[in-house]
């Protein structure tokens, strides 16, 4: 089976859609949803901070700084 596409592997500046999370607990998932990051939302990977982490993303109509470790756990598909 092919590895699922993650936000980490997604191209920069191209919109993708969140399809799910791997290894993210329920309460963390609910909190991320509160910040605007949830299944179905459109995400654009914009730029990495100077040391490569965190990564600034456009999530819906707002900007979030996401840890690299989280970015690797977000499953996405082309939007």
């Amino acid at each position: 089976m092919q590895d699922p596409m993650t936000l980490e592997k997604a191209a920069w500046d191209l919109p993708v859609r969140v399809t799910g999370f791997s290894g993210v607990g329920d309460s963390e998932r609910a909190r991320l949803a509160g910040m605007g990051l949830h299944v179905g939302e459109t995400v654009v990977k914009l730029l990495a901070a100077p040391l490569g982490d965190p990564i600034e993303c456009l999530v819906g109509q707002q900007l979030l700084a996401l840890d690299k470790s989280l970015v690797a756990r977000i499953r996405v598909e082309a939007a």
């Binding site: 100077p50 456009l58 707002q62 900007l63 979030l64």
Partner: protein, 644 residues
């Protein structure tokens, strides 16, 4: 009482309380200020000691209490701020107040902001929604159908602009209107975790549905405010320009703090000295005059002179905060702090700590992990706060010779820079130690909001600075007032009969030496003898437990130099002090030990009280004090031994 007044009396018995709830950066505080104007005060939340902003709003002669709740992202509290907000809501509901939750949302980010409102409405809270920054949304090309939104959410919805006053008259009327006599809302703080998670997910869904039906976004996918922020972030987070700009910002901040504040502080000191002199001349000589002129006035003045520095610091930090730069700075340093078990969020407490540990410790509230917050509160007091400056300046100018010029640099400046670096190194080293304790938590919250860049409004900034200065003055002022009276009493009694022919300075020194303070100093001298301190340094360090800068004042009194306008006099006196056998009383080694001690020891009653309040227990506060005292003692001992 008129019949009309009697008729309204039962209605007044149930107090109308409006709580402003919303995510951070929705303009909640701006709206709070616009609604309540100057009719504000701070109070403590029931059940805990975190401060809240409370104001009153008068509509048609009716007084409404308005509370500005801390910023909240979701129904699952993860920061101290969020816990406080939910605790308040359940308390207010239980107390039977006529509660109305005014959910403040940003018009350009409705889909995300509305989830909190949707969750609270579903939990049965009587609510209304203020769609804020409607002017910015219009510029963004976003249009919001508030009537449709109100129908979907089944609560009143109003579009407002807190900055420009748009929609505020209607909002005031809405807040005064009769609230629904709703069934008791659910106490969210007692709900099971999985129930809250489901509630949260439902709320997110409902917010999106409500938005889809009532918000029209511009044809272009990217809002202009967001597009501008991304362009700025490509500069501020650039691999080369980003760190350079952060360094430049910090440099400018410290320059303004020390160079900019100096003339103001000097002017203030001069004014206060003149006032004290005038007071001394006006009062009949005696104990009362001494209490006022040697005890209270110098003590209070010592605090007062720091106001310009605090004001400058908070103007700059407030500017950085309101412009949206601080979360970017946190993102910049995040990766570099990870190996130490810290993350970017400790940057703001640490930065504030360079002015004063108290706002720094309070800034840790927004850290979304209890353990990480405790770590930040533990380490912030190590940052070189402005109260350490007078002590460092005195000791360096007394014991680092002006002829000391390493690599051609000014040696005294190098020593000062070294002390600042030492504080940071010390904090990082201790962070490494804490990383190996149960206080360490791996990557607590992996997402942070980067709000759009906005130009701070002068009015909001002035209000922010004014409130912070007033807090500093009232809180620190009370402590110093009491301590300076206590110190004076200890130094003034028991009285000593003057000896004929001795000079006033000698008499003053002899009085202090045989006073309760002097005796206490001799009593504790053996404790500090291993550090090379005599009873005078011991007393001065002990009195500096109240506030570090008191060290300089106490030494001044002890060396009978009080009232001497410049430090040079006291520095020279310390340098030239001789033991009866002619050997110097203090050496460079003594000074090094003292500097180490002051760099680490938590000598600040206000900070200890703030830590106790923020962490809710004396155990943390006293444990921190004891640990830093032990570490300071050990470092001072080592420095003294190695150098001598």
């Amino acid at each position: 009482m008129t019949p009309a007044a009697a008729a309204t009396a039962p209605a007044r018995a149930r107090r109308r309380v409006v709580a402003l709830a919303g995510r951070p950066n929705t303009g909640k505080t701006t709206l709070f200020n616009a609604l309540t104007g100057l009719r504000q005060r701070t109070a403590n939340y029931a059940g805990c000691t975190v401060e809240k902003a409370v104001g009153t709003l008068a509509v048609d002669g009716r007084e409404i209490e308005v509370v500005d709740l801390p910023g909240t992202f979701s129904l699952l509290p993860s920061t101290e701020d969020e816990r406080v907000a939910f605790h308040f809501l359940s308390q207010a509901a239980a107390a039977g107040d006529d509660l109305l939750v005014l959910c403040v949302v940003e018009a350009s980010n409705l889909a995300n902001d509305l989830s909190l409102a949707a969750g609270l409405i579903e939990a049965g809270y009587p609510a209304a929604v203020a769609v804020n920054m409607i002017d910015e949304a219009r510029q963004n090309g976003v249009s919001v159908d508030t009537a449709a939104l109100g129908r979907t959410l089944r609560v009143p919805v109003l579009a407002v602009s807190a900055r420009h006053g748009e929609g505020l008259p209607e909002l005031r009327e809405l807040l005064a209107g009769h609230g629904r006599a709703a069934a008791a809302p659910r106490d969210l703080s007692r709900e099971a975790k999985h129930a809250l998670q489901e509630r949260q997910m439902r709320a997110v869904e409902r917010a999106h549905e409500a938005c889809a039906a009532s918000v029209r976004l511009p044809r272009r996918a990217l809002l202009p405010t967001i597009a501008r922020s991304i362009r700025l972030d490509r500069v501020f987070l650039h691999p080369v320009a980003g760190p350079l700009l952060l360094l430049a910002t910090m440099f400018a901040l410290f320059q303004a703090l020390f160079a900019g504040a100096q003339p103001l502080m000097d002017g203030l000191t001069g004014g206060l000295d003149a006032a004290a002199a005038a007071l001394r001349a006006a009062l009949p000589p005696g104990l009362f005059a001494s209490l006022v002129c040697d005890g209270v006035v110098p003590g209070v003045a010592a605090v007062f002179v720091f106001v310009p520095q605090i004001a400058i610091l908070f103007t700059l930090i407030g500017f950085l905060e309101q412009s949206g730069y601080l979360p970017r700075a946190a993102a910049l340093v995040d990766r570099a702090l990870r190996p130490f078990g810290l993350d970017g969020r400790v940057f703001i407490p640490f930065l504030s700590g360079f002015a004063c540990a108290i706002p720094g410790v309070m800034a840790a509230r927004t850290i979304p992990s209890e353990k990480r917050r405790i770590v930040a509160v533990m380490l912030t007091p190590l940052m070189t706060c402005s109260a350490r400056l007078p002590v460092y300046t005195l000791l360096i100018s007394a014991f680092v010779p002006a002829s000391f010029r390493p690599w051609g640099f000014n040696g005294q400046g190098v020593a000062m820079t070294g002390l600042y670096l030492f504080a940071v190194v010390c904090a990082l080293a201790l962070a490494l130690v804490l990383k190996n304790t149960p206080l360490y938590e791996k990557d607590p919250m992996p997402a942070a909001l980067l709000p759009p860049y906005r130009l701070p409004q002068p009015k909001e900034l002035a209000r922010y600075v004014g409130t912070r200065c007033w807090h500093f003055l009232s809180r620190a002022g009370q402590v110093i007032f009491v301590v300076s009276i206590a110190l004076w009493l200890l130094a003034a009694f028991p009285r000593r009969a003057p000896v004929a022919g001795e000079s006033a300075a000698v008499a003053a020194a002899a009085q202090v030496e045989q006073s309760a303070l002097g005796r206490a100093g001799r009593l504790i001298e053996p404790v500090f003898r291993p550090l090379g301190w005599d009873w005078r340094l011991s007393v001065a360090s002990l009195s500096a437990l109240a506030a570090r800068e008191v060290f300089v004042g106490t030494l001044g009194t002890l060396y009978a130099l009080e009232g001497s306008p410049e430090d040079g006099g006291l520095a020279a006196a310390l340098r030239d002090a001789r033991e009866p056998d002619g050997s110097p009383r203090y050496t460079l080694a003594t000074a090094l030990g003292l500097l180490m001690f002051f760099a680490v020891a938590l000598q600040c009653i206000s900070t200890i009280a703030t830590v106790r309040r923020e962490l809710g227990s004396w155990r943390w506060a006293l444990g921190q004090f004891a640990a830093y005292f032990a570490l300071a003692y050990a470092l001072a001992f080592a420095a003294y031994r190695v150098a001598s």
